[in-house]
């Protein structure tokens, strides 16, 4: 999922990433997918997202590197680009920075090329070399090239390019000491005379060369004798030929055959379906056991704590509010971790780009470009990085269409809700639970495509711009990177659970505990409802008392206000409150419900959330969570826009609140209408 969550510079200026004034600035530049971010991470010890998909880095990143001579530099990782003639916004970011057209020009440039594909990656290197800044060229993937029998003569390359050339591998760390020392030398010394002419002062550019740096519109490739692209590519091809010592480059016939297979008219879609189903079922089956551990762990913790704390409000706050609320959401950590791990592995292998080729034709019909596939897939983990990843889509119409439908995909925050409902509907039938899960996923996707189609017919008319996609080579995915990425995302989830969800949990607990119902008021109320308190058993009395307490508390009063709105969907006032609190973040509904239904007497045996919900009854004795209510709740959560951070990102990426508001309104209306239909239909049938 070509994403990087921390998109703005200021976001990820960690302690090691601080730019110290006086540090020299080195910009990294090269084709997409040549390993710039991997090198950046190794040099700076930071953890930026890398992946085998062109366009992973979408904004610049800054980090600090200690060079061997105790001096430090500021390293800037840029989005990859195919040429300095930028055609997309992210290429413009990189170009403007390298050309010094933004605020500060770099003191030196670190060009990264791919040893396994010198010819392709030297093209933009040449354009950068013409800027006549101090330059070091890093030939990355050196270990992969060696394995494939490609031996590169770095001396020839260095001579021809007129700057130091270092062979490195971001995977193994080979060559990094030399890379650092070369950077130090280049930054300390005078600018080296450049052998490639273009902009160097002592060697005024010839007219033909001049065309290489700037092409004016009317001159673009009218006659290819002076075409800068042809020139550059032919130069790169020639140089690659000269500097590769062992000519017997392994042919990539195998890759071609795999491509044929994976993008085949009929086999391609089948493989695609299998890969997707397999990936998601692996996520769920691997996550099951650790989730049970966590669930039991929190249960034990709650029992243990209640034994040590004196009974009363404080015990209730800790056990029901904090452990119940936060624990209810934290259980999903394994699922989220494994989901992100899987996505990283899939993307790193190079398969996702082939999947784009397969799905492009279908997506186009509903008005989405093939490039939107990777963000849509990433949205199954989280909509925020997915919306940011739409930057790879150049056309604004296409990009807007993708952003508008991305939050309909089932993100990991919905999983707690799905799991809760699946457990209630099919407590002892994992097979049906799995089908329910799958249906929720499919509902989200179908809704996304239907809405995209409607948008195409209405406010976003036009055809998506045709696909041009660079297919990365197949690579063995890096387990280490995937683990790091999953860890990072899991940590973000934990942090959120530890702050936002903790806070909301405490607030919900307080709102549902205070003000307290006095014994006299309780007696009065029971009398007015003509309940014969004396005839109730002790446990029944406890239950009635707890319910009365809650209805008396602030949350009960609020609940009664909003309940009529959600009544047609089959929600009681507690669910309605849960829905309201989950507009900030949808997983909160689980903690809200576990607090609202958890307060009061413990059911006899297990006190899992599922048991409590199943036991919930309306005052007339009918169960709250009927099949119709469960399905309606599920449908509502599949389709509703309940995530403030996503709204903020939509605003940022579209540049206006208008689109964020539109997204919120249409999704909420859609969710309400669909849940209404689901509830009424099922109620009628059963």
């Amino acid at each position: 999922m070509s994403t990087s969550v921390d998109s703005t510079e200021s976001d990820h200026l960690g302690t090691s990433g601080q730019k110290k004034s006086g540090d020299k600035v080195v910009a990294m530049l090269g084709n997409p997918n040549v390993g710039k971010t991997s090198i950046f991470n190794r040099l700076t010890n930071l953890l930026a997202k890398t992946s085998n998909f062109p366009g992973t880095t979408i904004d610049r990143r800054i980090g600090r590197v200690e060079l061997s001579d105790k001096k430090s530099i500021t390293l800037v990782d840029l989005p990859g680009m195919y040429s300095l003639e930028a055609t997309s916004p992210e290429e413009e970011v990189a170009r403007d920075f390298v050309l010094g057209q933004s605020d500060e020009a770099p003191d030196a440039v670190l060009i990264v090329v791919d040893a396994t594909n010198l010819q392709r990656t030297l093209f933009v290197a040449r354009q950068a070399l013409q800027q006549s800044r101090p330059t070091v060229v890093a030939v990355n993937f050196i270990e992969a090239a060696r394995r494939r029998g490609i031996e590169i003569d770095l001396n020839i390359l260095s001579r021809k390019l007129g700057c130091p050339v270092v062979g490195v591998s971001a995977r193994t760390g080979e060559g990094f000491d030399r890379l650092k020392s070369q950077l130090a030398i280049v930054l300390a010394g005078p600018a080296l005379p450049l052998l490639i002419q273009g902009g160097s002062p002592e060697c005024p550019p010839t007219p033909a060369e001049n065309v290489l740096t700037v092409i004016s519109d009317d001159e673009s490739c009218g006659s290819c004798r002076v075409c800068p692209f042809a020139d550059g590519h032919l130069w790169a091809a020639a140089l690659a030929r000269e500097s590769i010592r062992d000519g017997s480059v392994v042919s990539d016939e195998t890759a071609d055959r795999v491509d044929q297979f994976l993008t085949h008219r009929f086999i391609g879609p089948v493989v695609f379906a299998i890969v997707m189903v397999l990936a998601f079922s692996l996520v769920f089956s691997f996550a099951q056991v650790p989730m049970e551990w966590l669930d039991n762990g929190f249960g034990m913790l709650a029992t243990w704590v209640s034994r040590f704390l004196p009974e009363g409000d404080f015990q209730s706050l800790v056990v029901d509010g904090i452990i119940g609320g936060v624990g209810g959401v934290m259980v999903f950590l394994p699922q989220i971790f494994i989901l992100f791990f899987m996505l990283a592995i899939l993307e790193d292998s190079g398969y996702l780009a082939r999947a784009v080729v397969v799905v492009d034709r279908w997506m186009r019909r509903v008005g989405l470009p093939g490039q939107a596939f990777v963000p849509l897939l990433a949205a199954h983990a989280c909509a925020i990085p997915a919306i940011m990843a739409t930057k790879v889509i150049e056309n604004r119409r296409d990009r807007l269409a993708a952003i508008m439908v991305i939050p309909l995909m089932t993100c990991s925050a919905r999983l707690p809700v799905y799991t809760m409902i699946a457990a209630m509907l099919f407590p002892s039938n994992p097979m049906y639970a799995a089908i329910l899960f799958a249906s929720a996923y499919v509902l989200g996707m179908v809704a996304a495509f239907a809405i995209a189609f409607l948008l195409k017919l209405t406010i976003l008319p036009g055809e998506p711009s045709p696909l041009i996609l660079d297919l990365p080579p197949y690579r063995a995915p890096s387990i280490r990177n995937a683990l790091r990425y999953a860890y990072e995302r899991g940590w973000t989830f934990l942090r959120d659970a530890g702050t936002v969800i903790l806070m909301i949990s405490i607030v919900i607990w307080a709102l549902s505990t205070y003000p307290k119902l006095s014994d006299e008021r309780f007696a009065d109320e029971m009398a007015s409802r003509s309940v014969a308190v004396e005839q109730l058993s002790e446990s029944e009395l406890d239950g009635v008392r707890a319910a009365a307490d809650q209805e008396h508390a602030i949350i009960g009063r609020l609940g009664r206000v909003v309940a009529p709105v959600f009544e047609p969907l089959g929600f009681d006032w507690k669910i309605s409150v849960g829905v309201m609190t989950s507009f900030a973040a949808r997983e909160v509904v689980v903690s809200t419900l576990s607090i609202l239904y958890g307060l009061g007497p413990e059911p006899e045996e297990e006190s899992s959330l599922q048991n409590r919900l199943q036991a919930a009854k309306y005052p007339d004795g009918s169960p709250v969570f009927t099949t119709a209510t469960c399905v309606s709740l599920l449908v509502f959560f599949v389709l509703a826009m309940q995530c403030l951070p996503t709204q903020a990102v939509t605003k940022k990426e579209t540049g206006s609140w208008k689109w964020a508001a539109f997204q919120f309104v249409y999704m909420t209306m859609l969710a309400y209408a669909a849940a209404f239909v689901a509830y009424q239909t099922i109620s009628l049938v059963s």
Binding site: Y82, N117, I468
Partner: protein
């Protein structure tokens, strides 16, 4: 003698690009990826999208793009 045929109608496994007749942004993107006038390309997948190989890379292009890429063919 030579004539031109668009890539989507091109038959064969390899050929030379004669010219590009596409909007500026598309053309620039193709050219930076190594698909320029005079370039020799190989076809790895026909249909829509098609996959071409050139300048050491592999590029998937939609049918609408292929319609604007003119290939050189020898007249028999």
């Amino acid at each position: 003698m030579f004539s031109e045929i668009t890539l989507d109608h091109f038959i064969g496994t390899a050929g030379e690009i004669a010219r590009l007749d596409l909007p500026e942004a598309c053309a620039i993107r193709l050219k930076s990826l190594g698909l320029f006038e005079g370039q020799y390309v190989q076809l790895a997948r026909s249909g829509n999208p098609m996959i071409v190989k050139a300048a050491g890379g592999k590029i998937a292009v939609a049918g609408d793009i292929a319609k604007g890429i003119y290939m050189r063919v020898a007249h028999s």
